[in-house]
Subunit: 914 residues, 2 copies
Amino acid sequence: MGKNSKKYVYLFGKSVCDGNAGMKNLLGGKGANLAEMAKLGLPVPPGFTITTECCADYFASGMRFPSGLAGQLRLALDNVERQTGLGFGDRDRPLLLSCRSGARSSMPGMMETVLNIGLTTATIPGMIKMTGNNERFVYDAYRRLIMMYSDVVMEKAAGIVPADGEGIRRKLDLRLEALKRRRHAGTDAELKAGDLKALCEEFKSIVAAELGRPFPDDAREQLEGGVDAVFKSWNGPKAVSYRRIENIPDDWGTAVNVQTMVFGNTGNDSATGVAFTRDPATGDNRFYGEWLANAQGEDVVAGVRTPNPLNSGCRNPHAPDLPTLEAEMPEIYRELVAIRNKLERHYRDMLDIEFTIQHKKLYMLQCRVGKRGGAAALKMAVDMMEEKLINAKTAVLRVSPAQLDELLHPILDPAAEKSAAASGRFFADGLPAGPGGAVGEIVFSSSAAKAAAAAGRPCILVREETNPEDVEGMRAASGILTARGGMTSHAALVCRGWGKCCVAGAGELAIDETAQTVSNAAGKTFKAGDFLSLNGSSGRVYCGALATVSRGDNRDFKTFMKTADKFRKLAVRANADTPEDAKLAIKLGASGIGLFRTEHMFYGNNSEKPLFALRKMILSRTDAERRTAIDELFPYVKAAIKNTLKVMKGLPVTIRFLDPPLHEFVPHDAGQQKELADAIGIGIEEVRRRAELLKECNPMMGHRGVRLGITFPAITAMQTKAVLESAAELAADGIKCRPELMIPVTCDPKELVDQKKIIAETADEVRRKSGLKKLEFKVGTMIEVPRAALLAGEMAVEAEFFSFGTNDLTQLTFGFSRDDAGSFLNRYLASGILAEDPFRTVDTGGVGLLIRHAVKAGRKTRPKLKTGICGEQGGEAETIKFCHELGLDYVSCSPFRVPPARLAAAQAAIKKKK
Amino acid sequence: MGKNSKKYVYLFGKSVCDGNAGMKNLLGGKGANLAEMAKLGLPVPPGFTITTECCADYFASGMRFPSGLAGQLRLALDNVERQTGLGFGDRDRPLLLSCRSGARSSMPGMMETVLNIGLTTATIPGMIKMTGNNERFVYDAYRRLIMMYSDVVMEKAAGIVPADGEGIRRKLDLRLEALKRRRHAGTDAELKAGDLKALCEEFKSIVAAELGRPFPDDAREQLEGGVDAVFKSWNGPKAVSYRRIENIPDDWGTAVNVQTMVFGNTGNDSATGVAFTRDPATGDNRFYGEWLANAQGEDVVAGVRTPNPLNSGCRNPHAPDLPTLEAEMPEIYRELVAIRNKLERHYRDMLDIEFTIQHKKLYMLQCRVGKRGGAAALKMAVDMMEEKLINAKTAVLRVSPAQLDELLHPILDPAAEKSAAASGRFFADGLPAGPGGAVGEIVFSSSAAKAAAAAGRPCILVREETNPEDVEGMRAASGILTARGGMTSHAALVCRGWGKCCVAGAGELAIDETAQTVSNAAGKTFKAGDFLSLNGSSGRVYCGALATVSRGDNRDFKTFMKTADKFRKLAVRANADTPEDAKLAIKLGASGIGLFRTEHMFYGNNSEKPLFALRKMILSRTDAERRTAIDELFPYVKAAIKNTLKVMKGLPVTIRFLDPPLHEFVPHDAGQQKELADAIGIGIEEVRRRAELLKECNPMMGHRGVRLGITFPAITAMQTKAVLESAAELAADGIKCRPELMIPVTCDPKELVDQKKIIAETADEVRRKSGLKKLEFKVGTMIEVPRAALLAGEMAVEAEFFSFGTNDLTQLTFGFSRDDAGSFLNRYLASGILAEDPFRTVDTGGVGLLIRHAVKAGRKTRPKLKTGICGEQGGEAETIKFCHELGLDYVSCSPFRVPPARLAAAQAAIKKKK
């Protein structure tokens, strides 16, 4: 196809309409929807859209208009002129145009707009005549054109950088302000026609002087400048950085919408407004919007005047007297309601619309699918499904897993947050490490947190970073704030697991535990007892106590989840380590426990005694010492497992054997060391020496997981006994159990052979003692070491199931220590070396390759091999999609992430079918 | 084939000979060689071999003789009887037999033997008559039979465990000793026939009483018992544990050799001896051996009597008067020399032979390829090649890389070591972490080591574990001994790199630096200044100063290496970090440098100033601070690189950019911290704070390698500039350079894109400044992170070469921290979970899979991709074989390992062709 044959311009209007809503890529969102509305017969001011392809060609040819464009523009203008009966540049009935950007996906405020194009010294008189001699209105429009045009086209698009750092816009604004002062005018509206006319002349001479060329007095020149400026604004600094953040490709380009101007500010029979077809905050099925009489659209957006409610239903109770459109212009309001109904039926979604009323005539200027919060998204999806507006599949796709996640946690009141930010009460920025919001007094230690909580005072635990000894305090606190550590630091892992609000790695904070103070980079300092508010979903921290809002689950939630579950193929299990977590998991719809971490019983409440026994075991040097400690530990381990199995009533429970490096549990304070020394019967120096021996250079790759089980077989035997005795006793009570013993950190099938021997011997013993003939359980392994994934075919000879431990697998595959990656990972993400944080979303290209290989090789050996994923990423939507595509049997995530995971799994199934 | 049709028994002897030397798997080594000697017409006492297959069937059928065996045994016995003219169990001319084990590969002393089978009350009179009425000889033989048989067959093979813990052998021995005391006899030989006869009767009644059944008085019963006992001894505890250590499969089984007895103890015209066809210690082409008149073979081996030299050439100068066989029995000696020549010509190798002379008649009892040390192996290989006894290929295969390695280091005198061990001067056992031997006085600090070395006193640096701050002391010391750390600890890595003697991880040692003492588990304590001797090849440490011996290279070495190089396909480069190392590398035959570690200039001699500048750079927090430090560092880095490139004269030099975690270089002592604080212009507290910030939980997976280059691009630019300016300046001086810039620790191709941009910019700058048109260099990457291997196809888009860093790749693929693996790796190896230490030999099954994939995918993208391996395993023979099979271009190892690596590469090429 030759260059000239490309169609660059698409018309929209009553008579001709080249585009439709499906052509967003070519026409941008705004252009496609304008065409669609016009097609529906709605009152759209006629105009045309210059394609995104034209924008791309424009940049490809060194920022010149492609050769076919000029001719197509001319024809399009002709068409608009015919439809409106006006003429562009015509002295008697001049046509005025707007020129707006419109990319594929909305980039609000990031690109440029020019309005009132077509006003020149030649057309102004005709315009005045046409508006019934409203000279003031026309010169006000002319002033606006000069201000916008000189700024957008003549300065920015021309690449002029003002020598004094002040742009032309600012200079003209100062003149306008000066004029208002001279006239004692509070608003622009108080200025007279003559003042404005003189101001326009002054503006034009300033523009010519500052920018070195006169303000163009030719309609076509103005239009071409406008189009060129909109194209150029695609590569403006704001737009470019927005695209970086939103991952929008640079080569998409923007479309340009050129449209007949309509004016909502031509008198009290004119107005402008924005509306949502349903309430975007609650999702309620009621028409919701705001309007202003005798105003331009920008006046509503800018907030200069307080807008009025569209109807009595969306009145603000604090301002019950504001006039509604419904009451003021009942006929037009009815027309608008009809349009609203038509659009919703047509688009089958909640829409965000913009309209203008010019001399009692309604015009539609924009419509697009409206943004909404989680609660609203859920309500609308369920309502529209029940209204039969959409089918179940569409309803399920209408709520994102992140929105669902939002719903399950209380949050800081967005309004309170906004006003805190505006009034300088922002304190620090960190990583969004645990969901929701939290407000409380500052405490600096685990014990202070416990004390505050016991006294019924909500508190925020502020720590350099947390460690297992802090866990009780973390449980007690309302939220956690750390100065160090990333998205997978101890604090983040624990808090996400609990669904507790956490802001981690707020690097600018300086914490002085001795002085009991925390300061930010600006030197603002708080002491223990002062209040902070955390937004764990954004990572922002505010001074003082902000209000919070809470959204529970409800009927809609249940309906929605039930609908989603119909499509889901992947089972969703929970990571749960206590009977309480297990109950919560079941409540949130988990179909089993995918990860019960034996060691977590040493972190939680009532962990003192088992932790003490564990420490004794760890510090044992002789078999006799170790045996004693293990015997002491056994009842605690068994109780935790038995109670959890009991709650799960026959649902599968995967119990991971002791995993972490032992030194994590060694006490550091002298009191506890002394107590241990006495209990073992050794000196405190010996305790310290033994603790020293346990220290490792790289504990993540040290003596942990199955390596403990192999060097200390009694630990494996004890855990097996705890699980199987529990199962046997529950079976005797008629309660079914499906325990799955999971061996962590394996790298070789022979490790499994070794451990299975111990398990089999223990199982025989339990069977013998219990008198049970059958004692069903499975033995499988975590696949979290690259070698285990590589040897998956051989691992599956021994393992009945694989559970991919994506945290460690990611660490080892990348060679990234998640505790240390903070020092470089941000830089990797910022510079685009990595597109995603691999600890958040599974790295499908690298780690995913290993998983894919392991699943394939494992199933080749054992066709019925059960496969799942556990670890942080198990609850993340993209990862779940990947797991669905791989055909895994389940994902497992923390209980609070179960509903979003169920949704993500349903969406993956629906999208794959499509 | 039915069971009965299996051939279980193979005859050997003058008339019939079913086997040959090629049948070791079936007949065992001894049986196959007996057959071969018989075939060659040598005087082998006739007999037969029961196959290893029969042994396997014996165990498969619950330790019963397979059904065909009895008949075949009968026929074989008939044949032996025919050849010897004797009869088994015959009253007049009784045939006596020996019954010996013989596995595929020698398991010396691990299995059982029974001699003199066939002596019964019925045959003794005939035997006495046959030996010229030598009643004493016959009863002595009978006594030996009873002692051996009751022990081996009646007790051990029957599974009898003596209640009092004392075996039958010991009980009989005590009776023999008591008799000797009664007769005032110093040796057995002084006992009279009557005494021995009575002793035999006493023995028989003790046997019957203790073992519950009478000593068998039937020849055939004795034989069957003997065969059964030899089979059973395959699964005796000694044999089983030997097989574990030597990796011999359990299902091989042993053959049994049944052979006509000949006696070297029938008078002074009888004798016995062992000999080597060449000197096994030196490799000299001279017949070497020992003999004893009137003795049995076991007397030579047991060392009860001092053996005599075979000929004047192998006399011990300290005992010049001992009688030689050459002089005492010249005719037989000549016969033996003829046999020696025949065997060497036939086997084309040095053989270890055993012979017996009975009444002036020579019998050959055994021949096998003789064991030899490295020096001897080399000499024999070269000599035999020059004698045209073997071809070049065979010569190259005759020396193992380990033997060659041995040759390149001085060692403790083996004799001195033996006597030190015997006299209780053994001190401790550790890991053989650096080759050769070292003797010196104990020092406990780097500074003491330097002081001792400066004073010309060799010293052993004894440390808990070493770190980079010890490196100067390590250089200065003769040997290093550490209490902690494994084969890849800092000490081991540095020492192997330098070829310096090191014993690492001697865990039993308690080092008290304050008291300046080191104690072993037995409480033996040495202080600074006391002497220790280390064997870095075995890991043994001795008290006091032992003698050392040194073997340099020589003409044979050069001839041998030249021969090996003819077959080699794989290039061998060296890991070298200084011009001195580079010179050594060239001397030892390296064809380039495969790994120049920039950071090693901060470890070595004269490292103070660059290390100081590096520390400044590391502790910089602002760009300005960092820039200053980098500028200061630059001249040192450039000098080190330039001087190395100069030495290498156009050979490729791979320069790896700064790799290790920065905190490794942070000083810990207050003095150095103060100096740094002053230099940077900050307080010492600030230095400590910054050092604290650099600490990582898992430094191995932290902020290192390319991650430094990405976060601090100036570091990459500085190194690039150092390399390319050096190359440009050398080129201007007419010296060719082939620098290869290697980016370490990569995990994504975009990292290379980022770094190559900096490199290209720097290269342009250097080109511009130097005025050179061409400035050739390559840019490649280490593949040491699993993800880099997985994405190799994409990595190769950017990288011109891959160098597999097997140390880190192994760590990450297994999830084993080499610094910490000591706590479990030994257990993994001991229990057979891992067959090999993966840090020593590349793990072909797991890590190898990644390497194989990476080579294939990389070459698909870039067919000329250069591939190599660096890291410890690069010098290891099995790894080299793997690299050859993969078709890599080169391996790189420390300079001292270059010759063994060249040899291993040649052997891999030869073996693959075969």
